[in-house]
């Protein structure tokens, strides 16, 4: 009988995406006055390029967070994909085939993690923590800790990472396609609706006939697979495989998803929001660099943005609930 009617104003206020766009736009305006380099096409492109590959991992993490899971291994699994693909290429395999095998290997890692979570009943956090360390160890073992120079990579493969279609870099095209596809899937398909149900209330999902273990298994595997794809693109971009790449990436990725509205307790989050979260972090970091702020301060500021976002969220939730 008691129905809370939300006014349009408060609803717009609540819409996470609107808030983030406003904040990002504000930074743009301020920065365009503060630095003459900021609004140059070159700077804007490099900013988007800087997070566009990582954004593929953000998509995976967001979906996993929505289902109620988390993955700390994304950084090292991405690096491992580079190392596997790079090693196979150096061993004489075709780069495309090497990449495919590397991506499948990452899916395999995700499947193992998924099985440990659903089959044995371990927590995502612990399983992925273990895998994070193991995958990094494998990277070091496979390369002796040194980057693999892949100078003979064919140009058409490198094109993925460094080429452009017209004025637009290929990595940005790939990024936009991934965002659009997964945003659509998450909003419109029954398969991803089941992910939302599972994360919102796993028991209630089971009581709605959703095979929740299968959902959790698949989202875990999807995240690792997307890491594999990102790793291969990074390899094409750098022309090398770097065993130490992506250390600390998991924190950045989780922060982006959470700033974008995903919750560690599952059930909420959007792809668009998470990408805006990524963009915000990239814009802030680019701005601070242009303003000659020390990198140490950048970490402090990024951490503070994350805490502000979640605090804000929590207070809004409390007022609603």
């Amino acid at each position: 009988m008691s129905i809370q009617v939300t006014s349009p104003v408060s609803r717009a206020f609540k819409a996470r995406e609107t808030g983030l766009i406003v904040i990002i736009a504000t930074i743009f305006v301020v920065m365009s006055f503060a630095s003459e380099y900021f609004m140059t096409a070159e700077n804007l492109l490099s900013m988007v390029k800087s997070f566009s590959v990582e954004a593929i991992v953000v998509i995976g993490m967001t979906i996993l967070l929505i289902s109620g899971g988390i993955d700390l291994s994304v950084g090292s699994v991405t690096a491992l994909a580079m190392v596997i693909a790079g090693s196979l290429f150096l061993a004489g395999l075709d780069p495309w085939l090497s990449s495919l095998i590397a991506i499948m290997a990452c899916s395999g890692i995700g499947a193992v993690m998924g099985l440990m979570v659903t089959g044995i009943g371990l927590h995502h956090f612990i399983v992925s923590l273990g895998v994070m360390v193991i995958a990094r160890g494998l990277c070091m073992l496979g390369t002796g800790g040194r980057p693999l120079g892949l100078f003979t990579l064919p140009l058409e493969f490198k094109w993925i990472g460094t080429g452009s279609i017209g004025p637009i870099p290929v990595v940005i095209v790939i990024f936009v396609v991934f965002v659009l596809v997964f945003d659509f899937l998450l909003r419109q398909t029954t398969a991803f609706r089941k992910v939302v149900y599972t994360g919102s209330n796993q028991k209630a999902a089971a009581y709605s006939g959703v095979r929740t273990q299968k959902v959790i298994f698949l989202t875990t595997m999807l995240t690792s697979t997307l890491c594999g794809i990102a790793g291969v693109i990074y390899m094409a971009r750098f022309g090398s495989a770097q065993p130490t790449f992506g250390i600390g990436m998991e924190l950045n990725v989780i922060a982006a998803a959470v700033i974008g509205g995903a919750s560690l307790s599952g059930g909420s989050g959007t792809i668009l929001g998470a990408i805006l979260g990524s963009l915000l972090l990239a814009v802030v970091s680019s701005s601070l660099t242009l303003l000659n702020v020390s990198v140490y301060w950048q970490d402090i500021i990024r951490g503070s943005i994350l805490l502000t976002a979640v605090t804000f969220d929590h207070l809004l939730m409390k007022r609603r609930g």
Binding site: M1, S2, I3, Q4, V5, Q188, T189, T190, A191, R193, K194, V196, Y197, S200, N201, K203, A204, A205, A206, Y207, S208, G209, V210, R211, G267, S268, G321
Partner: protein
């Protein structure tokens, strides 16, 4: 000066627009056992929560020993000598019985170290009055009824003058309940005032001194038990003759069998046989822990690994999981609406389509928002769900409307059999009789309806036939003309008697 320990003067409390308590005047005397009766939502729990400091009254006064007090928290209530045994068990499962019993004492103590040996000895002392539970066991290893006894022991350790017991016998066997009544009487003889919440008339009339009835947030009447009858109390509870509350029962003989269960067994229940027929509303009675929900969830493949035969319209079913059961048209309404029945943070329409996403999507697995909202609108209209928009989250609805959403979810699959576990728990009186009518209508349309309820008047009023379970077994069956609270309770505590006295 007087022997009134607790006095409530003109206390009022609202939740949003709902007035949960209106001008309550109530008094509790030293050494009395005072029963409080009333349906769900009548205001009993709200008043108890106010006395325990969990809620604050909007207006009115609370006096303890004649002095006005403001009870700010349960810890404060404890200091004032108020002990509250909640209906829900609130123990730490991974900690020993002894530590649980003295949780409050440990919390208040300034000692740096725990004295395990002393704790255990003290716990044994307290428990010795109740039962032979080993205080060093972990609470998670105890049965539900023993956990309930630990809850009671916990309250006894606080040197309380006012003890509130909220339906403490719901999970107990008859024998354990009798022990509890003995303890209550000896506590009362020591001068402790006891508030005893129950809807079991037999218990009230055998053990209590006075009885107060609540209905719709008002205190209807307080009588000495010796000066009133069970019928008066029940009529005061429901406010009208009990028959008129429920839709008319099946006038003709029920139709053919829809669901036949033959020799179903699992670790939680043994050798269950029953038949659910077209047109009837079949009830299942039993104490908490008797295995009622487990049987239904076992049939649906929601939990456990039940073995035995289940036939739907004469055809034997082979179900792997609940998704298969839903596909066959067998659905289950959970007893815990908030815990596992609904997605509180999701919109109403997304909740309603959850069991039948195929219906609101095209062949390629794309959800059609239009179909989804039309489904929600039509079921919302059919069940009279009061919501401004089907896009609002379920958490904004009242308990009764939430329950209707939970029911709408099931109806979205056009089920053949619906198991309903406590379908009207925490639902206001109006919505309750609406739900009863919906169930009766569904039964007349040929849907198999099976209702689990711990509220005996509900089973008696609603059902054409009632199965009774105790300790994992079917212990009896009562037809409409045999139904009475006594008959059900006797069967429900049946094996408890046999087992303990053997």
């Amino acid at each position: 000066m007087t022997d009134t320990v607790l006095e409530i003067r003109n206390v009022t409390r609202s939740f949003g627009p709902v007035r949960a308590l209106r001008g309550i005047n109530f008094d509790l005397k030293r050494g009395e056992i005072h029963a409080i009766a009333g349906e769900n939502g009548a205001g009993k729990s709200t008043l108890m929560n106010i006395i325990d400091g969990i809620l604050q009254p909007d207006s009115g006064k609370i006096l303890i020993d004649g002095r006005p007090v403001r009870i700010s928290s349960p810890a404060h209530a404890q200091k004032l000598g108020i002990g509250f045994v909640h209906q829900e068990i609130a123990l730490c499962p991974d900690v020993s019985v002894a530590e649980n019993i003295f949780m409050a004492a440990t919390n208040q103590s300034h000692a740096l170290l725990m004295d395990a040996a002393k704790l255990k000895a003290n716990a044994r002392d307290v428990l010795s009055q109740l039962s032979d539970i080993d205080p060093s066991l972990l609470v998670r290893d105890l049965s539900i009824s023993n956990q309930q006894l630990v809850e009671i022991a916990k309250a006894l350790t606080l040197d309380c003058r006012i003890l509130i017991l909220d339906e403490p016998t719901a999970a107990l066997t008859e024998r354990e309940a009798q022990i509890l009544f003995g303890i209550m009487r000896s506590l009362a003889a020591r001068g402790i005032a006891i508030i005893y919440i129950s809807h079991r008339m037999v218990e009230i009339f055998e053990n209590c001194d006075r009885v107060t009835v609540f209905r719709d947030g008002e205190l209807i009447r307080t009588d000495k038990v010796s000066e009133t009858t069970a019928e008066n109390v029940v009529n005061a509870m429901v406010g009208r003759k009990i028959e008129s509350l429920y839709p008319p029962k099946l006038a003709t003989a029920p139709g053919q069998a829809i669901l036949e269960v033959e020799g179903l067994s699992s670790s939680r229940f043994q050798n269950i046989f029953f038949v659910l027929r077209a047109g009837e509303v079949l009830g299942v009675a039993g104490l908490i822990g008797a295995g009622r929900s487990e049987v239904m969830r076992g049939i649906c493949r929601l939990e456990g690994n039940a073995k035995g035969r289940v036939k739907l319209n004469g055809r034997e079913l082979k179900l792997r999981d609940y998704a298969d059961a839903i596909a066959e048209g067998i659905v289950y309404l959970s007893e815990d609406r908030k815990g596992d029945g609904l997605f509180l943070d999701l919109p109403i329409d997304a909740n309603i389509s959850a069991l039948n996403l195929a219906h609101v999507s095209n062949g390629a697995g794309l959800i059609d928002r239009g179909t989804e909202s039309r489904l929600a609108e039509s079921l919302g209209q059919k069940l009279n769900i009061k919501a401004a928009s089907m896009r609002h989250t379920v958490s904004t609805l009242s308990g009764g409307n939430q329950q209707k959403v939970a029911l709408a979810r099931l109806l979205a699959v056009k089920p053949k059999v619906i198991f309903l576990d406590e379908p009207t728990r925490g639902v206001d009186v109006g919505a309750k009789s609406e739900i009863h009518k919906i169930l009766r209508d569904l039964a007349s349309e040929g849907v198999g309806i099976l209702v689990i309820s711990s509220e005996l008047p509900e089973l008696i009023g609603l059902c054409d036939r009632v199965l009774v379970m105790a300790e994992g077994q079917m212990t009896g069956e009562l037809s409409a003309d045999q139904l009475s609270e006594q008959a059900i309770m006797q069967m429900a505590s049946n094996t408890g008697w046999k087992k303990r006295s053997a």
